[in-house]
């Protein structure tokens, strides 16, 4: 669905990524793995058209036959609004602290797809229920909820909008082990039930093993290995991938 070709990002003369190539196939969970500082988050920013103003970028990010990197701000805004949903790492800071959750959940879901508040209330209530969240959360402020609950609220919105592509940027690294497992299960469910294409950014091989179908390994701004999870795990080529896999056991 998305093809990233030769993506190079430069900020103030420093190479953040160099010649990055990978593909996100439709209906699959693709994982982009690498340690922090390897350029994963900047790659995501490039996909979303949200690079810092001083970033210089070249290459292609092909989405539905056109290069996202050339798109105007307005076009990107509508892509972000209609086709993509992004879950970020730090759930507890992902919401405006002084606005009630209900209002914000609506902005993230119902308002995006053009539903009225009433439709939203009905639909969201069901989703929250399925995700084990009480309807009460809509009356609360973000700081009254835990990080795990907030991240579940985020994915509830993803369930609501059923985006063509869900980007999850280290969605579990701020959660404890039990919550991590639960959250990954939710991602898998979203993929299986609604056939949502997911790009999962992580530094954790266990998560890749559990959730992803495809993977791309990133090191110091370049992609060193791509393939299905099975093939990469059973037959790694690059030294860095081997090291990663060894350290896992």
């Amino acid at each position: 669905m998305i093809e990233v070709r030769d993506l190079t990002i430069n900020i103030e003369g420093k190479h953040i990524t160099q010649h990055v190539d990978f593909t996100i196939p439709r209906g699959r969970i693709t994982s982009l793995i690498g340690e922090s500082g390897s350029g994963k988050s900047m790659t995501v920013s490039a996909l979303l058209g949200m690079l810092p103003v001083d970033a210089k970028v070249s290459g292609y990010v092909m989405y539905e036959g056109r290069n996202v990197l050339d798109a105007s701000d307005q076009e990107m805004e509508s892509v972000r609004k209609q086709d993509v949903f992004t879950i970020f790492q730090d759930a507890s800071n992902s919401f405006n602290p002084s606005v009630k959750m209900g209002r914000q959940l609506y902005a993230f879901s119902g308002e995006r797809v053009g539903d009225t508040i009433d439709v939203f209330n009905e639909k969201m209530k069901l989703i929250l229920d399925q995700l084990g969240l009480a309807w009460d959360v809509v009356e609360q402020y973000p700081f009254q909820l835990s990080g795990g609950m907030l991240q579940r609220c985020m994915i509830a919105c993803a369930f609501y909008v059923e985006p063509a592509l869900l980007i999850a940027d280290e969605p579990t690294s701020a959660l404890d082990m039990v919550l991590q497992k639960e959250f990954i299960q939710l991602l898998i469910r979203l993929n299986e039930e609604r056939n949502t294409t997911i790009l999962l950014i992580t530094h954790d091989l266990d998560i890749v093993a559990e959730a992803a179908h495809e993977m791309a390994v990133m090191q110091q701004g370049t992609i060193v290995e791509t393939g299905t999870v099975e093939t990469v795990f059973s037959n790694p080529h690059h030294a860095y991938t081997k090291r990663l896999l060894e350290s896992r056991f």
Binding site: S36, K40, S41, M42, S45
Partner: protein, 270 residues
């Protein structure tokens, strides 16, 4: 690069003003108090570059002499409030706990009372001269400095190197002086600069109200006090020039202070 040039510009402007006022004795074309009743309210001319006032005194000479007075009062009071601020904020920040709470509550209460009101009421009683004014402005101007020093001390106290010094039994005064105070200097410097601007404002305001510097001594504020009447008969030059001097002085201090504030923290992307 550009901001560096700007900083240099404002520093030299301030330096020039200070230079002109400090050496006013030599630079002034007339004696600041020399009256000439035949030549009152004369507009700027080649004789009197900036004109004369209601007693025929040369405005330029008074401007330079007045600047010396204004800047001296401001400097004196800033030094005084700097000392009080460091001691008060230092005690509060270093000891913490109940001492800190009580001292900060008191400071919060004091900060709510307009300083001008306090100074006015004391001026009413003591009718201080130049040094009395300096004292009063200094005694009311230390609150923000104290607050900054306190927060710097609290921040630094938690730093690794101070904790280490504590563990190794470094004497308290050495920690206070060597570690806490010296590392707070950048923050104290900025607040003192702004304090200096505030002190100038205070002096000119009080003298302008006619309750500051005694009328016999020229100061920028004093000159403006007489200017409010002079302006009504159209003698604009008496009001214009002291105001411009005040404006330029405070402007350059503010720009220097801005440049000194830490460059904005930039968010580091991973």
């Amino acid at each position: 690069m550009k901001s560096r040039k700007a900083l240099l510009f404002w520093c030299s402007l301030l330096g020039l003003i200070v230079f002109l006022t400090v050496f006013s004795n030599m630079l002034a074309p007339f004696s600041p108090n020399e009256m000439n009743m035949d030549d009152v309210y004369s507009a700027p001319s080649s004789d009197h570059w900036l004109g004369t006032d209601h007693l025929g005194r040369d405005v330029l000479s008074r401007l330079l002499e007045g600047g010396k007075v204004t800047l001296a009062v401001a400097s004196g009071s800033v030094i005084l409030s700097l000392i009080i601020g460091i001691v008060y904020g230092g005690i509060s920040g270093y000891f913490g706990g109940l001492t800190d709470t009580v001292m900060m509550r008191l400071l919060e209460a004091l900060i709510t009372i307009p300083a001008l009101i306090i100074i006015l009421s004391f001026q009413a009683i003591i009718q201080g001269g130049m040094w009395g004014m300096t004292l009063l402005i200094g005694l009311t101007g230390w609150l923000v400095t104290a607050r900054i020093v306190r927060s710097e001390f609290i921040r630094l106290k938690e730093e690794e190197f101070v904790k280490m010094a504590n563990m190794f039994g470094t004497p308290v005064w050495k920690i206070l002086w060597g570690h806490l105070l010296q590392n707070s200097i950048p923050a104290i410097f900025v607040v003192t600069l702004f304090n200096f601007a505030g002190a100038i404002f205070m002096e000119v305001s009080l003298s302008f109200l006619g309750i500051g510097i005694p009328p016999a001594i020229p100061s920028w504020g004093n000159m403006l006090y007489y200017a409010q009447n002079d302006i009504l008969i159209g003698a604009w030059w008496i009001a214009l020039f002291p105001g411009i001097m005040i404006f330029l002085t405070i402007l350059s201090i503010n720009f220097i202070g801005e440049a000194w504030k830490n460059p904005k923290r930039r968010r580091v992307n991973d």
